[in-house]
Structures are given as C-alpha cells and as structure tokens.
C-alpha cells in the first residue's frame, strides 16, 4: 500500500492551500476567484463519488471513480495547455503507458502491486519526456501532429509487441484487496481516485502562485518576453511535460487497478482526444474547467445515451465543435466572463500614474552602482539587408540615452542585439564589465537588463499584481523587490483584477513597472510613448528621470516622439540605414545639419531648454 500513495503528483500537499504567493502572506480576500473554484471542484469530486457510495450504488461509484481519474488527467492537460502553452493530443498514450505497464508488471509477471504502480508511473514519465523533446524545437500544430501520431501509434505497438503485452487479449489485473468495500459501496480505489483528483486541483491552484508557475505562463504567451525576463522556455516545457506525465501516470496505474483489466482498445486515439476536449469544453485555463468538461463529456453520452454507445463519438465531436464556435472560453470561462462583466460595472480597474510615481520615489534605498553598455563595430544583416553596419555606441552608466532615427534605421535591431534576442554577425557588446556578445537573451537579462516591447507584453490571463510579480521573480539581486513593497497597499485590489480592463497607456506603465521590479540596472524601452496622450508622456518622462536619479538606472530609449527625447535624454544617438549619423549631447545634435535633414520639421518645443 505504501507505494501507491497518490501524493507523487505533487510536492505540496495539504499546507499548499494555505500558502500563497511568494514569501509574504496575502489577505484572504485576494485569492477569492481561485479559492472558490478550487472549493467547488473538490466538493463536486468528493460529492460525486461519496453520494452513490453512501446510497450503495456500485455502478455509479465505479463510474465516478473513473471520472475522477479522467479529471486528474484533464487537470494536468489544462496545466500543460494553458499554463505552459503546450498542445498535446497524446495524453491518452501517457495515461495508457501507466496503466499497461502496471498491468504487465503486476498482472502478467506477478510482482506486487506497488512495484507495478511505480513501474507504470515511471514509464509514463518516460513517455512524457519523449513528448517534451520535440517541444524544444517546435510548437503549436507541429507538436499537435507529433503527439497525435504518438496517440495513434501507441495502441498499434501494444498489438505489435504481443509477446510482452498479451496483444488484443489484454491483461487481467485482479486487485481484490483494493476492491473491498470500506463503507457502502466505497472501496480503496475510489478513495484513492477521489483524493488524486482533488490533489491535482490543489496542486494546479498552488502551482499558479509559485514563481515557476508564473514564469511558465509568461513563456507560454510570449517566449521572447520570457527570455528577456531571464528564463529559458525550453526548460519550462520540460518541467511542464514531466509534471503532467507524473500525475497522468498515477491516474493510469489506478485506472488499471480500477477496471482490473487493460486492453489496447481502451487506449485508442479517441481517449487522447477526449482528454483534450474535456479541457476545451470546460474552459481551458480555468481551474475548475476540466472538472466540468470531463463531467459533461463523460456523463452525457454514458448517462443519456447509455443504450447508444456508438453515438458517443458523435457527442464528443458535436459538443466540442459547438463549444468552440459559440462559447470559445468553455462553459466555466463563459460563466466567469459574464460574472466579471457584471462586476466590472461597479468600478474600473486602474493604475494611478502619479500616485504610483510619488510613492515609489518616496522609498529611499541605497543607490547601486550604475552600469553602462559599450557596443563596438557591431554588424548585423538579415540576408542582404544590413540592419546594423559598424555601429559604435557608448552608453554611459546612469544616463538616459535616446536612440532616434527614421523607420527601418536599425533601432529595434540594436535593442534586440543588446538584449540577446538577436545575435551579432560581427563586433562586440559589453554590459557593465561582462562580455554579452554571445549571450542568449535570458543570460543577458541576468546581467541586469530589463526591457519593454513596442506592443506591450502584458499577460491578460494573470492578475495585474502577478504581472508585476513576474518581474520581481526574475530579480537578479535576489532580494525582495522594494518596488513591490512600496506598492503593497494596492496588492489586494490588483490581485483581483486582470490587465485586460486597463487602457493602453496603463498597460505600458505596467510593463515599465515590471521591468523596474526586476531590479534591472539597465532599462531598454522600445517606443514607450507610442499611443500615449501628452499628459501621459509627461508622466512617463518623470518616471524615466526618477529611474535615473533616484534608482541609479541607466535608460536606453528608442523613441519617435522627439519632444519626449529632448525632455529626458542626456545623450542622443542618431541612426540611419543601419549606421550612426551622430551621437552627442542634445544641443549638439540639434545643431547638426545632417540630423535636421533626417527629421524634416522644426525643432520641437522645449528644445531650447534641453
């Protein structure tokens, strides 16, 4: 019995519930949506197994035991799909591997059940890692096809290697001890299945509050943004597939014991599709989605169409198609959205620019030594298009350095090579005193770079607070973020609200704040003023000055709005067609006739006092 404890799927058990994000405790109210879903899910799972058990109905006890196991797989599929962004149409094969190896080891070879279970789970993990390997190279539909093929091949292999698997005859796995009724028609298998399903839900809820969970969600939405936050998407994918495989393997092993028989027909590709559709129908990304989805997809055909088994597939396909067309957020997602819309009328989320500025600045802290960037003889070409040609730039520590130039002059390319998203063909980049020329983006981020993108990479599925927390997670200093501490009083509210309700300017600010929360010593801002009103631009200029003066940050700014540039820049570099036109103090630049040609039009207001 010792070996079959379902806790294998999660390092955190009971206490996980009480634990919340990061190190500091969070007021109870903040976690309400997740807690509510978690509680509802657990009540549904336990209730569905216990009720028929108390009534002494073995048929439904058994059915809901199976549903609990399927829910476990679906919850992990949900984690894989929405938290890690990995499309796997092959979780049925991972599940089947766990079940079959348990059957072979204990049913055919006669080893104790504990040994069978462990072998089954181990095999599932191997299977999961096999899926993860192509995920390092390809994503999306590629991965969908690979995993779908694997799901097709799996039962074929069970038949092909009939010497080991007993082929189409299947394997009997009698487990009388576990099948004995403990109470009513409740047996140990049912208890374990129920516990496993609840545990997987608790684990998923807890996982989302961890730094790892947040990083994974960032990487799923934007691998690029994840890289600039100092994490490697590949590692995260591996971890996600492994987590999913462990839990799915436990469920598979229990499934074999629950049915007391395994055969290739039980693990056809349909099963994998069933798991995937369960997540979609319930609402992908919603904690309780897989519970609802599995219940609908399993129970509707089995209860309502019990006599018409051949209609089952038709029901899966039709339900999935209709949900996708009419309620793309799934059942739970649609309900949630309706609820949020109702609540949204009571008050709009927002970040008060000025208050945030004043409060953050009020926190005094030890000024750190600023670092600068030196770029020498940088050359980067895309095919025949030379984006950077022999570029030398010296960005001094603690200055606001603006890079200006017409469209296509190589500004963003320059930012990309500095942050490691693109690699130089020739030349070198020194950040602080470290050579960053060959560093990948996430290593460059660890040298102290934080950046924003032209279109703000804000993550709409996670709360405003967690969006900031992502930055703090990536902090290179390893200390808790002073910025987040200074904003602590907004935490309750920001933890409940999603950034999709924020207007454009505030999304941008959120991204800048996130880069600041990283405690990065250099800020790379790619057209931060685009789409901002003049008042908002003024606030943004204030924020940059504050970053420089109060926090000792070096700011590299790419900007089309020359007004803003004159306001804040200590030094300006002008790029055109991949080459440096000139670089110097603002008033030198203003006097340069070559620059005037590039920017047709009068010098902007306020240039005189620059």
């Amino acid at each position: 019995m010792a070996g079959i404890s379902p806790t294998d799927s999660s390092p955190a058990t009971g206490p996980a519930l009480a634990m919340t994000g990061g190190a500091e405790p969070v007021p109870e109210a903040n976690r309400r949506p997740a807690d509510l879903q978690l509680a509802t899910g657990i009540v549904l799972i336990i209730g569905s197994v216990l009720l028929p058990a108390v009534l002494g109905n073995p048929y439904w006890t058994h059915n809901f035991t199976i549903v609990s196991l399927f829910i476990t797989v679906a919850v992990l599929q949900n984690l894989l799909l929405s938290d890690a962004g990995q499309v796997s149409f092959g979780q049925g094969a991972v599940f089947g591997a766990g079940a079959y190896i348990t059957g072979i080891v204990s049913g055919l070879w006669g080893y104790p059940l504990a040994v069978g279970f462990l072998s089954g789970i181990a095999t599932s993990v191997v299977m999961g890692l096999l899926f993860a390997a192509p995920a390092l190279r390809v994503q999306g539909f590629y991965l969908g096809f690979v995993t779908l093929s694997a799901a097709l091949v799996f039962p074929e292999m069970l038949v092909a290697f009939s010497d080991i698997t007993n082929g189409i005859n299947g394997i009997a796995l009698p487990v009388p001890a576990l099948k004995e009724d403990v109470f009513g028609s409740l047996n140990w298998i049912a208890i374990l299945a129920m516990a496993l399903a609840c545990l997987s839900l608790v684990f998923h809820a807890w996982f989302r509050t961890t730094a790892l969970g947040r990083k994974m969600r960032v990487a799923a939405v934007s691998p690029e943004a994840a890289l600039t936050l100092g994490t490697s998407p590949g590692q995260l994918r591996f971890i996600a597939f492994t987590i999913a495989a462990i839990g799915t393997g436990v469920a598979g092993a229990l499934y074999a014991a629950s049915i007391e028989f395994v055969s290739p027909y039980a693990f056809k590709v349909d099963l994998s599709i069933f798991f995937f559709f369960s997540v979609i129908v319930g609402g992908s990304g919603r904690l309780i989605g897989p519970v609802v989805g599995t219940a609908i997809l399993y129970l509707v055909p089995n209860a309502l169409l019990a006599d018409l088994a051949s209609y089952r597939l038709l029901a899966y396909g039709a339900v999935a198609l209709i949900i996708m067309l009419v309620f793309p957020d799934g059942v739970v997602g649609t309900l949630q959205r309706a609820l949020r819309r109702y609540r949204a009328r009571s008050g709009m989320a927002g970040i008060d620019f000025k208050t945030v500025l004043v409060e953050s600045a009020a926190v005094s802290r030890d000024a750190e030594t600023s670092i600068g960037i030196t770029i020498r003889k940088a050359r980067k070409a895309y095919g025949k298009m030379v984006a950077l040609n022999d570029v030398d730039v010296e960005i001094a520590p603690g200055e606001v350095h603006a890079i200006v130039g017409p469209n296509g002059s190589g500004k963003t390319t320059l930012l990309n090579v500095i942050s490691g998203l693109a690699r130089l063909d020739q030349g070198e980049i020194i950040i602080g005193d470290a050579d960053a020329t060959r560093k990948s983006a996430y290593l460059a981020a660890r040298l102290g770079l934080g950046r924003t993108f032209q279109t703000p990479r804000v993550f709409d599925d996670i709360s405003i607070w967690d969006n900031l927390q992502i930055g703090a997670d990536a902090s290179i200093s390893g200390r808790s973020s002073w910025l987040l501490q200074s904003l602590e009083k907004y935490r309750p509210r920001w933890s409940r609200e999603l950034p999709d309700s924020l207007p454009h300017a505030q999304r941008r600010l959120l991204e800048v704040l996130r880069a600041l929360a990283m405690d990065s010593r250099i800020l790379l801002l790619d057209e931060p003023a685009a789409g901002l009103s003049s008042e908002e631009r003024h606030d943004l200029a204030g924020l940059m000055r504050m970053a420089r003066d109060k926090m000792g940050r070096t700011v590299v700014l790419i900007e089309h709005d020359l007004g803003l540039v004159w306001q804040v820049a200590d030094r300006i570099t002008v790029l055109d067609a991949g080459e440096i036109v000139t670089s110097g103090l603002p008033r030198e630049i203003l006097a340069d006739p070559r620059v005037r040609n590039l920017f047709a039009g009068a010098p902007p207001e306020g240039a005189a006092n620059a």
């Binding site: 799909l81 499309v87 149409f89 390997a133 192509p134 190279r137 390809v138 994503q139 999306g140 539909f141 590629y142 969908g144 096809f145 690979v146 779908l148 093929s149 694997a150 097709l152 091949v153 074929e156 292999m157 038949v159 092909a160 691998p223 690029e224 890289l227 998407p233 056809k268 590709v269 349909d270 599709i273 995937f276 559709f277 979609i280 992908s284 051949s310 209609y311 597939l313 038709l314 899966y316 396909g317 039709a318 999935a320 198609l321 996708m324 067309l325 793309p328």
Partner: protein, 292 residues
C-alpha cells in the same frame, strides 16, 4: 527483385496519396495559416463516394463521370468547413480555436461513418484492369494516383503564378495585413482555398479508393502521414510535398513488407520527429517555420 519493384511502385502510389494530402493541407495553410486535422477524413469521404457509386463490374465511363462529382462534393463540404472554422477567428494566429474545431470535424465525420457503415473496412472495386509494371501486375489506381498528383501539382503551380486569384492568395500568405489593406477580400479567398483543397482531396480519395483503407477511424492516420510528407518536403512547398510524399510512401511500404503493417505509423512518426529535430524547415521550406 520482384519484391523491390512492388515496394517501389506501390510505395510511390501510396506516397502520391500522401503528397496529395500534403498539397491539400498546404493549400489551406497558405491562405489561412490553418492546418486541417480533418483532411484525412475528407480523403476517406472521397473514397466512400467511390465505394457507394462504383459498380462491382468495372465501368470506366461511370468512373470518369463521378470523378468531378466527388471532387466538387468535397469542395462544397470543405468550403462549409472553412466557413465554420474561420467564423470565430479574428486572426489566423489563434491556433487553439482551429486546432480544436478541425479536430472536432474529424471526430464528427468518423462518428457519422461509424453510425452509417459500422467499423469494418469499406471496399471499392477498381474500375480499370491492373497492368504489368516492370513485370509485376500492379492495380491501376497506384499509377493513376501518381498521375493525379502530378496533374494537381502542375495545376496549383499555374494557379498560384498565373491567375489573379492565385496571386491574391499568395499575397494573403505573405502578409495578411498588407493584403487586407490592399483591398483583398481575405475571408473569401481563404474559403476559396478550402474549396480548392476539397477539390484536390476529393479527387484523390475517389481515385485512390481501391487502394485505401477506408474505415471510420482511418482518417487520422492519413492526415498525419500527409503531414509528415508536408514537413519532410517543407511546409508550404508543393514540390516538397511531391518528394516528401514519395519518401514517406516508399518508407511506409518497405516497413509493411519487412516488419508488418502495424509498424507503418510508428516508422513515419519516427521520421517526423527526426526531421523536426534536425531540419524543421524540411527539404524545400523556409527556416521561418521555427520560433524560439
């Protein structure tokens, strides 16, 4: 020697089926970024039309009459599918939506076939006599489907480089926003691409019916094999699809002869993983396919 000829000829014939699936996948993908997981089911539907309407006593004229019927029928089915698939999409990057809806259509078609015809294989009589190729009697459909693959290859090439509509689809493929800004009716072109894909897959299923495994659950195997052909050749390249299909077909046929039919899909899966790990852009594709 005879065995080798059989493997080569039948492998190329089977490969031509995969090439046709790959080309029809490309046709939709080019215009919309969508990969239709139901494409294998569409092939099976084309085959079922042949099974239903082709007599047991060969009648080539009837065959010639029904070939366009099958092609047009599938074009209609796929245009409807295209409409449904594109409905909730604002842009083609919303992968989850179409992954699910095309897979759901595949499941639905399988379910309907299961309900109407059960789970046994549906057989079709070849309407043409088999003839000797290098001394081996070869059923005519193996050769006919190879010819069909070349015909569609040439037709698609002409369409995409010589007709205004074809050029418009190429424009959509290259830059969706620019095409929209240039006043192209993107949604209509995308539905047209679904229709063209239906013409290809309908004629392919109908022609190859006697040599296909037509059953409720064989669609997914055909679409994954077709996808492997497309990946090996390079996604989006019809030349690649022709060559990739031939490679996958011969490899698959060899596997069946040497180790048994149950290993066919396993070997193509191995090939798929290998190509994706080593050269994800395939033989004729552009390296842009891979991101991060």
């Amino acid at each position: 020697m005879e065995e080798l000829t059989i493997i080569a000829v039948r492998g190329l014939g089977l490969g031509a089926v995969f090439s046709l699936v790959a080309m029809s996948l490309n046709a939709v993908h080019r215009a919309s970024g969508i990969f239709n997981f139901a494409q294998g089911s569409m092939l099976v539907l084309g085959g079922i039309i042949a099974a239903l309407y082709m007599p047991n006593v060969p009648d080539p004229y009837r065959w010639a009459l029904f070939l366009p019927v099958a092609a047009i029928a599938l074009a209609l089915v796929m245009t409807v599918q295209g409409y449904i698939t594109l409905l909730p999409l604002r842009s083609s990057v919303e992968q989850h939506s179409w992954l699910v809806s095309t897979l759901a259509v595949s499941v639905l078609i399988s379910a309907v076939i299961l309900l109407l015809r059960g789970n046994s294989q549906i057989l079709t009589t070849s309407q043409f006599p088999s003839f000797p190729v290098f001394g081996t009697r070869t059923p005519a459909p193996y050769i006919m489907v190879i010819v069909l693959a070349f015909i569609w290859y040439a037709a698609l090439r002409w369409f995409h480089s010589r007709t205004l509509t074809g050029l418009s689809i190429s424009a959509v493929a290259q830059d969706l926003d620019a095409a929209r800004a240039a006043g192209l009716r993107v949604r209509k072109l995308q539905m047209l691409a679904f229709g063209i894909s239906g013409l290809i897959i309908g004629s392919a299923g109908f022609t190859a019916a006697p040599i296909l495994a037509i059953a409720n659950d064989s669609g997914l195997a055909y679409v994954t094999n077709g996808f492997v052909a497309a990946v090996v050749g390079g996604i989006g390249s019809d030349t690649g699809a022709l060559i990739g299909g031939a490679l996958v077909g011969v490899l698959s046929m060899y596997t069946a002869f040497a180790y048994g039919g149950e290993f066919q899909n396993a070997v193509t899966l191995g090939l798929l993983v290998l190509v994706l790990m080593i050269k994800p852009e395939g033989l004729f594709g552009t390296p842009a396919a891979r991101k991060v």
